[in-house]
Subunit: 425 residues, 2 copies
């Protein structure tokens, strides 16, 4: 049977009802945010997470409701949400932008990776209990702190009409580099987890070789195959075909990434990088983006945000409250100082440097994805019995992501609105 | 865990790989069809079904592959495919068009329902074994024969530049009425199946009252609530919001339809009817359609078509070959004669009447949906042990849908291209 309710599979009625509730509850705060000049993803993200929490604590009263969230179908939809979010994130970046990233952008990006990575790793090493997984867990915290949400910063900079200024340009290009480094590290981390233990020297070499091999394959594909597809596509007029080809590229790279022991989101992300205006033409890329954006933000992403909220564990957070607070503090300080210092060294003014640091501080949805990937890989389940601080890593990182994401627009507005000396590019 | 491969749930690698294969294999024949002047859905439908058959017969060689198709996640994606196909089908129809349907259109539509319904029911009654389900099974065959694929006919008429002629107009409006009657009957049928047996007089009354109640609710919603939402929507500029609201309406009506014991596809379909240009404005409807069309035809529908192919049972078909052949013959004759005769009575020429009959004969994807709904409801599983002819109903109806859908463009081209006496409207 195609979809049989009677054999204990998820009840379709509840599944539809939940998707309806998620759409209405998580989307409208997004619109509200947009109207008060914030990035809509912020409202969606918060509403989704809060809804997830509410369902988790009160959903037990409705039989069938919790079953839906435990169902493979719901999880898969949330997963597709991650897939499309990553694909979208990749498309939002133009590789050209990245290539043109000035020495300054690169320096600031390095500051925004090295400090959070090191401090995060150190924090983990100090707080986490000894186990086979301690190294990987500490590494995860470091990676989680290195992420920068491009979408939120870009949106705020656009609103402030600062996106085409030197500061805006620097923030975006540094953020792009940070995320690519962060995701490459995540690829290595997932490979560790796939292996089930910290790898030996030889294994580590193979893992890193695989990650590099994958990126080289992607670059070759971008140079040799994609332009041919792009040229053909420019001649057709079917918008469905454009969308299908873009999706097929994303699924293909996702499959290859999975096959190589990395995570499929890496594939979705680099697929997004390959969908470039230079190759496909501005019109085609715009069409594809519109469709992906519709299905992502209008449908799948809110469901993913809810699934994140469902996994927040407040009892563990309560037991590991100091850890969470320190994590948030370290996250903010390491990014702001790491990026700000490099900006100051690159001859930006102190206020500009602070603005750059604040602009790089938001973690956004990408952080939630990184956390979900680690959760799913079972990173927070060791040692057994699991101490609260390990259980709390996931929830702490999610709350850190929300806090830093909320801070970005507020901080940027304060710093940039009152900055008359900003040099136009 | 969010999505754990280790606990026996579906393997994500295979799921992504299959979606990739489905996208590539099922979509490109669709494009090919479009290039040789056929409706692309035809290529997709056939390629999907053939792919499903291939996987069914050869998939056993790949461990994990069959698990994917049995997984809730795959079924749910196929199900979403149905949902969006129905939503799209509803949007393709403008209620205004329907209201303006001339007496002629109505007459032809009635001919196209009554004859197929009666003959189909009679065929079922003759061939099917006695059981509690015989009446409902025979009714299903009747309903299956009454369906008309609007999308295919519309596409062919557009290609032949006949869509705005009297003949094109008549075919489309009659097809719309046929599908609405067919889907209303399906709603009653699903209510029967929900009940698990043929209802008593009182129960039948309640069922029909529910169906009518639902449609009255939808009409009221269309008159009172939707215009307000539409007016608000015209003032915002967020395309994601448009898409979300359209989706929310569809999910809401789907949930209500399910709750009332009808099928959620009825809700999706009427939701599509409510997304009208008159209310939302041409621009908004175009945006919504583009997004729904992208996600439907570029992603979900091909997966649904494959799932149909997976359920084709050739051994049963072999044992019940005469039944299938007679079913196809009755399907063609009842539609062509039913519609053609009424057209002739409405003072169309003989050739025009034949063209109208042929134009109404294609069943398209809607038939596959109707068949999938009946399959899922367990209609073809009684009596136990199930005789081949009952098992073969599903496969026969699917093959009938494909044959009649293939015939439509060929027949219409032959009849209309050589018709110089066609009156322009």
């Amino acid at each position: 049977m195609l979809f049989d309710n009677k054999e204990g599979e998820v009840d379709l009625f509840w599944l539809l009802l939940i998707m309806l509730v998620v759409l209405v509850v998580a989307r409208f705060p997004g619109e509200l945010m947009e109207r008060i000049g914030q990035a809509s993803i912020l409202g969606e993200l918060i509403a989704g997470v809060v809804l997830g929490i509410i369902i988790f604590y009160f959903g037990g009263h409705f039989s069938g409701l919790i079953d839906v969230f435990d169902s493979e179908a719901f999880k898969f939809i949330a997963y597709l949400g991650i897939f499309f979010l990553m694909f979208m994130a990749g498309m939002e970046m133009e590789v050209e932008q990245l290539m043109k990233a000035s020495k300054k952008g690169l320096l600031i990006a390095l500051g925004g990776v090295i400090l959070p990575l090191g401090w995060g790793f150190g924090l983990g090493w100090l707080y986490l209990p000894d186990s086979e997984y301690k190294l990987v867990q500490a590494l995860f915290i470091g990676i989680a702190l290195s992420i920068t949400a491009i979408a939120v910063s870009a949106r705020v900079l656009m609103d402030l009409k600062q996106i085409h200024t030197k500061i805006g340009y620097t923030i975006i290009s540094a953020a792009v580099i940070d995320d690519i480094i962060g995701l490459s590290l995540l690829a290595v981390l997932t490979s560790f987890l796939e292996l089930g233990r910290v790898p030996s020297g030889g294994e580590l070499f193979i893992l890193i070789a695989k990650v590099f091999g994958f990126f080289i394959f992607v670059v070759l594909m971008g140079k040799l195959i994609i332009p041919r597809i792009g040229a053909k596509l420019l001649r057709t007029k079917s918008k469905e075909l454009e969308f299908t080809i873009a999706l097929a590229i994303a699924f293909m790279l996702g499959v290859i990434a999975e096959y190589l022991g990395m995570h499929f989101i890496i594939g979705a992300f680099v697929a997004g990088l390959l969908i470039r205006e230079k190759v496909f033409g501005a019109k085609v890329v715009k069409d594809i983006k519109e469709r992906v954006s519709g299905i992502t933000f209008g449908f799948l992403a809110p469901i993913f945000f809810v699934s994140i909220g469902l996994h927040l564990d407040f009892s563990a957070l309560g037991l590991a409250l100091p850890f969470m607070l320190i994590l948030i503090l370290v996250a903010i300080l390491s990014k702001v100082i790491g990026c700000g210092l490099m900006a100051r060294l690159s001859k930006f003014s102190t206020r500009e440097s602070l603005a750059i640091g604040v602009g790089m501080n938001g973690r956004g949805a990408l952080e939630l994805i990184v956390a979900a990937v680690a959760l799913e890989a079972g990173l927070f389940a060791y040692p057994v019995p699991t101490p609260p601080v390990v259980v709390a890593i996931f929830s702490s990182v999610v709350i850190m992501a929300i806090v830093t994401t909320l801070m970005t627009p507020i901080g940027l507005k304060l710093l940039l609105k009152s900055t008359p000396e900003l040099k136009k590019k």
